[in-house]
Amino acid sequence: MAHSTILPKPLEEDMAFPPYPRQRASARAVVWQYCVVTRIMLMEYRTSWFIQIFMALILPMGIIFFLKSVGDVKSTTQAIFLLGGNMATSIAFGPTNFLVTKIGWAKQIQEFDFWMALPLSKLTLVFAIIAVSLLFALPGLVGVYVLGNLLFGLPFMGQHLLLVPFIPLCVLPMAGLGTLLGHYAPNGQTANVLGNLLIVFVGFLAPMMIPMDVLPLPLQIVARFVPTTYVADAFRAILANQINLMVAFDVLILSFFSVLLLTFSYIFLDWRTA
């Protein structure tokens, strides 16, 4: 690995000189570290990947199945509304919930101590955790998309491939939110409760499966500040093949949420014991 070097000077005369100069990591070294950490993070899910993916799939798919079974879907517009909302919900059920509990428990069992004792930046670790959560989001999203299209009788269209580059932008703000919530959970149990609260809020108290104008005014206001509202809107627009200025607006808002929430989670994720 290529490194530029900084040779520190001991302050006092009786201070020993460092046995080697400090290593300032190059971009290549940072990417290398990121790959190693992400790989370790993925290995950590050897025994639990199935349940993680199952959880991200089962609830949104169950909701689609329920709505189809009670025969409440009368038009294509309605089907697209529900499918887009469910795909956004699967992000909350999967990566966001995953991050809340992951960070909450990691704090409780002092998992970060291991990483802190390595010459590794917090940013590298945060991005590795988010990358893993992104990966866990994919099966849920794909599963909901395929099952929803089949059950609601929607066509599989080439334009739907636009969803693929759009997915990270939808996951990132939710990942930031999950990281923040996990950090503020005082222990693992509270993190679990927060994760469940998030599911209830996003699934049933936000315009995911319920149109915005049906929600009570306070929830309508809160919904404007929750990224999943814009994620669902964007998914619906792509599913309906209506790429217009509103989608551009959603992209803008989601980019803003991504930057804001990831910056906050980086700043406030205080892994050193205060």
Binding site: L11, Q23, D113, A117, P119, T273, A274
Partner: protein, 316 residues
């Protein structure tokens, strides 16, 4: 000797607590030494090493590592320091070999070097027999050994160990002490927190005793031993059938200060100048055949720990 660490007036008060976990602690760690940090549970030892390893942010005071002020830049510390904490909460679902290889890589080793160090450590510490098991499925002792290996890998010049021999059987404990001694001979600075004072005494060169968050004593082992009770300790284990002989009890009282640990197990603290006559009297009036064990001990690191660490004098 030059200092690798200079710790000045280090104080730590945890959030929501008024009690100081560390109270204005100042000391230095010298390059290439084995420094032991002793103290009872809750004395503030782990808080102190967590601060010098950059895991915990000090409330006040400063830490200099190789002359660099690292109190506000703790990210510098892992470039030179490896830490073995008491618990291992990360890497639960990876195999020992993977954990070692990737940790070495994160400490800056090339792939080939990481592989070489991993192979050597697996052989040296006998980790081969459980290389096929996930760390989650290992026993407490095996986990501890992996945790130690993770500290060794990457070859840091300063290595900190918090209770390195907990959960280990006597044979493995001996191997770990040997390894630490070997590392020290290679020039590594070792900082050690342990309750296993008797075993640690063999390798520790300088010791700090901490209690109630304060550093009560620091110095070379010989230097500290001079500060404790200089009486010689005669430790006897009477055979069961002789425990109730009154004449023996009278004799013990005559020889010095007596502490009956059990009916069989007696400790006599006698003056240095009367040690020889005390031994002669015991051998003459009781005889070695009536004893299961008989030991003669000068002040040990354990006495230093007990007497200077707030444990009081022997037997209190």
């Amino acid at each position: 000797m030059s200092n690798v660490y200079t710790i000045s007036e280090l104080t730590k008060v945890y959030k929501g607590n008024t009690k100081k976990a560390n109270d204005h602690i100042s000391f230095t760690i010298q390059e290439g030494e084995i420094f032991g940090l002793l103290g009872p549970n809750g004395a503030g030892k782990s808080t102190l090493i967590n601060q010098i390893a950059g895991l915990t942010r000090p409330t006040s005071g400063s830490i200099h590592l190789y002359g660099m002020e690292v109190t506000k830049s703790p990210h510098i510390i892992p470039e030179y320091v490896a830490l073995q904490t008491q618990q291992m909460s990360a890497l639960r679902d990876v195999y020992p070999e993977e954990a070692l290889r990737y940790t070495a890589q994160l400490r800056g080793c090339s792939r080939a070097e990481a592989r070489r160090q991993t192979k050597n450590l697996i052989e040296e510490l006998g980790l081969g027999e459980f290389r096929e098991k996930l760390i989650r499925n290992l026993s407490g002792g095996q986990c501890r050994l992996i945790h130690l290996a993770l500290t060794f890998v990457g070859d840091r010049p300063i290595q900190i160990f918090d209770e390195p021999t907990n959960d280990l059987d006597p044979v493995v404990r001996l191997m770990v002490w040997e390894k630490l001694f070997k590392l020290n001979r290679q020039g590594k600075t070792i900082i050690l927190v342990t309750h296993n004072v008797l075993e640690a005494e063999r390798i520790i060169q300088r010791v700090g005793i901490i209690n109630h968050g304060q550093l009560l004593a620091i110095g070379g082992i010989g230097e500290l031993k001079e500060r404790v009770d200089q009486r010689i300790r005669l430790e006897l284990l009477l055979k069961a059938e002789y425990v109730s002989v009154p004449a023996y009890r009278d004799l013990f009282a005559l020889l010095g200060e007596v502490h009956n640990l059990t009916l069989q197990h007696v400790i006599i603290l006698c003056r240095r100048d009367s040690t020889r006559s005390a031994i002669d009297l015991i051998l003459l009036q009781i005889g070695i055949d009536k004893l299961d064990d008989f030991r003669i001990q000068t002040p040990s690191l354990e006495d230093v720990y007990l007497q200077l660490g707030g444990g009081g004098s022997f037997g209190s």
